[in-house]
């Protein structure tokens, strides 16, 4: 028996120096494995992201002409001419850019508040919760891609929904009078009120833009341990206090995620005016230089905003653990 046991040990002893000779430690093999697993991304990133990014940046500063007989295209450096054109000569680009950025700011604040509020509601226990969650998530599917664009442009359906809104006479009369009182006049206060009323009126746009954000906040709310609330209740904390002292700090790290997601979602949606203008310029005018400069200017604005917002919010985000 003793002899039988000894044999496998010997083979293993023989194997160890072999592995050492190749010089592969666990860490090294893991590093190689990691590089191999992520290789598709590395290839894709270089070929379909990095090179195109450099090239469009080049195109933004040049005049691109398609050379059909040679099956290629020629870039001719023109400096800032494209940017000069879109900012000073193009009648709509500058206005669209500023409008789009302004709308983005307002909408993202609204989306954040709305999605946090809804997530808070959906985190409570009540009958039919699963159904309500499913409905709130529905726009992620139904208002994606081209459908959103078609929906906003469909005046027939928009007309029907205003008709339905107005048919609730009593309610709209009360809010209408209230709106008239608060939003009339010229003071700054009434401007603010008008903005708020506009936001409330566009609650549908906000609701359909916040499906994913609701789920993200909801997942954050569910990870807060119930023992925290129990402890605070024992110490005499009211619901309001425990919201600001527990719930809000514990979910604050998700605010960054949601802000970044909302910004990106906003600027890649099919009803984004700047982006559709960019695409139209490319497919109709075939002016690749102009297209690139328009897209890069917009992206630069977005990148600056994302960076700034992330920096500011991360200052006061609270990380548990």
């Amino acid at each position: 028996m003793a002899e039988n046991n000894a044999t496998p040990e010997i083979t293993q002893v023989v194997n160890v120096p072999k592995a050492k000779r190749r010089g592969s430690t666990m860490a090294k093999r893991n590093a190689i494995a990691g590089i191999l697993w992520t290789l598709p991304f590395t290839i894709g990133f270089i070929a379909f992201m990095l090179v195109p990014m450099f090239e469009t940046l080049q195109m933004a500063f040049s005049n691109v002409t398609i050379d059909i007989p040679n099956h290629s295209y020629v870039k001719e450096w023109v400096g800032l001419k494209n940017f000069d054109y879109i900012l000073n000569a193009d009648p709509i680009y500058k206005r669209q850019l500023l409008e789009s950025l302004g709308n983005m700011g307002l909408q993202i604040i609204a989306v954040l508040i709305f999605s946090y509020f809804v997530a808070f509601l959906l985190n409570q226990e009540f009958k039919g919760r699963a159904f309500v969650r499913a409905v709130f998530f529905l726009p992620v599917i139904l208002s994606s891609g081209i459908l959103l664009n078609l929906d906003t442009n469909n005046s027939l359906l928009n007309g029907i929904s205003t008709l339905i809104k107005e048919s609730n006479n009593a309610a709209s009369r009360v809010t209408g009078v209230l709106e008239d009182i608060l939003a009339s006049g010229n003071s700054q206060m009434s401007d603010l009120m008008q903005t708020i009323f506009d936001l409330v009126n566009s609650v549908y746009d906000i609701a359909i833009a916040s499906g994913i954000q609701i789920i993200i906040f909801l997942s954050g709310l569910q990870t807060i341990p119930a023992s925290m609330y129990e402890a605070s209740k024992m110490e005499g904390c009211t619901g309001w206090e425990s919201f600001w002292k527990i719930t809000f700090p514990m979910t604050s790290s998700l605010i960054i995620v949601n802000v970044v997601y909302s910004i990106i979602d906003f600027c890649t949606r099919s009803d984004n005016v700047v982006m559709s203008q960019v695409k139209a310029t490319m497919l109709q005018k075939m002016d690749y230089g102009l297209t690139s400069s328009m897209a890069w200017l917009y992206f630069a604005c977005i990148a600056v905003i994302v960076g700034l917002v992330t920096f500011i919010i991360s200052k006061w985000v609270y990380y548990y653990e």
């Binding site: 290839i43 379909f48 469009t56 409570q124 027939l156 789920i215 690139s292």
Partner: protein, 325 residues
């Protein structure tokens, strides 16, 4: 002890508390019902409009219940957008690209979550970059890159410098370009999927794999036999997202799928198509939009059915990933 007796003993506290509880839940029910109605209403409007005849649209006494019930809109619009071929094409295009996407994103996400290698964080920052950069920014170069695609000079670096290419084929139109993007984790929202899957795999305890390694299981086998079976709900959810967003996308499809008729291709041009068919009287705006609504309805019908059955797959597994930064 009855309720009122208990209430008297607590000096009215019990009554106040139950009134508050009830009013909160009534308020919540009204609010949630209103919001749900708001979200579902456009869908219901489309449904009611799609069964109307044209004259019903101009009748001011009709809001949502059609007086002249008809299903003619459906057959007409199905012909206009070539529903049968478009449906089959959309189905295989979405399935194939989601499949490629999920394979590549799972691999990449797993690599980021489990292995330490040089420049991992830099590479992951690149993933975040692909999420942030709008595809429209690089679209013009990507389009030209695929228009004059070169398998020898795959990365296009040589071409970028010299402006000449060695061998080339046009990959625009038949979708090959898009499938290449999907296989390398660069397609529609791939960055988001990589991020989600990485978060998921990071949350799986390492002991599982270590036990497998100790027992002599290789890396690939561990991944396929130990990690993948547990990740099934997460993979399903990513697959569903990818399928649905691909289905309704028209950004990449107008760029790369020109020769293939997809469902989203003709949705936007239904009103103009109506003009062609009814040459003697041009279609009115309302009529065109009624048809667009019908077309949208038959486009999303398969997705709605999918969502009815796989609703949990969408919502639940997303909330389990614990997305954090």
């Amino acid at each position: 002890m009855s309720y009122w007796e208990r209430n008297r003993l607590s000096h009215g506290y019990l009554l106040r508390k139950s009134i508050r509880k009830w009013s909160i839940s009534i308020f919540r029910a009204v609010l949630l019902f209103g919001l749900c109605f708001l979200i579902v209403q456009p869908l219901l409007n489309k449904l009611s409009v799609s069964f109307m005849e044209e004259r019903d649209l101009y009748d001011s006494t009709i809001i949502s219940i059609p007086r002249h019930f008809t299903t003619a809109n459906y057959t007409k619009v199905a012909g206009l957008i070539k529903y049968q071929t478009a449906l089959i094409n959309t189905l295989w295009v979405s399935l194939l690209s989601s499949l490629l996407q999920i394979i590549s994103c799972t691999m990449i996400g797993y690599g980021f979550a489990r292995y330490k290698f040089p420049f991992r964080n830099v590479l992951f920052a690149c993933v975040m970059l692909t999420i942030i950069v709008p595809p429209q920014t690089i679209m013009s170069s990507l389009y030209l890159h695929f228009q004059f695609f070169d398998f020898v000079d795959f990365f296009g670096i040589f071409k970028m410098i010299t402006g000449k290419s060695i061998t080339q084929v046009s990959l625009i139109g038949n979708g090959v370009a898009y499938f290449m993007l999907a296989a390398t984790g660069m397609a529609l929202r791939s960055g988001l999927y990589i991020f989600m899957l990485r978060q998921y795999f990071r949350g799986v305890p390492k002991e599982l794999e270590e036990a497998a390694y100790v027992d002599g299981c290789g890396k690939i086998r561990t991944f396929i036999q130990i990690m993948l079976p547990d990740a099934r709900p997460m993979l399903t959810s990513v697959f569903l997202f990818s399928l649905v967003w691909q289905w309704t996308d028209n950004f990449y499809s107008t760029l790369f799928f020109r020769k293939i008729t997809l469902l989203t291709d003709n949705l936007g041009s239904i009103p103009e198509k109506l003009m062609d068919v009814r040459t003697n009287t041009p279609a009115t705006t309302a009529y065109g939009q009624m048809m667009t609504a019908t077309g949208m309805l038959i486009t999303i019908a398969p997705l709605l059915i999918l969502y009815l059955f796989a609703q949990k797959g969408f919502v639940e597994s997303l909330s389990q990933t614990g997305i954090k930064m």
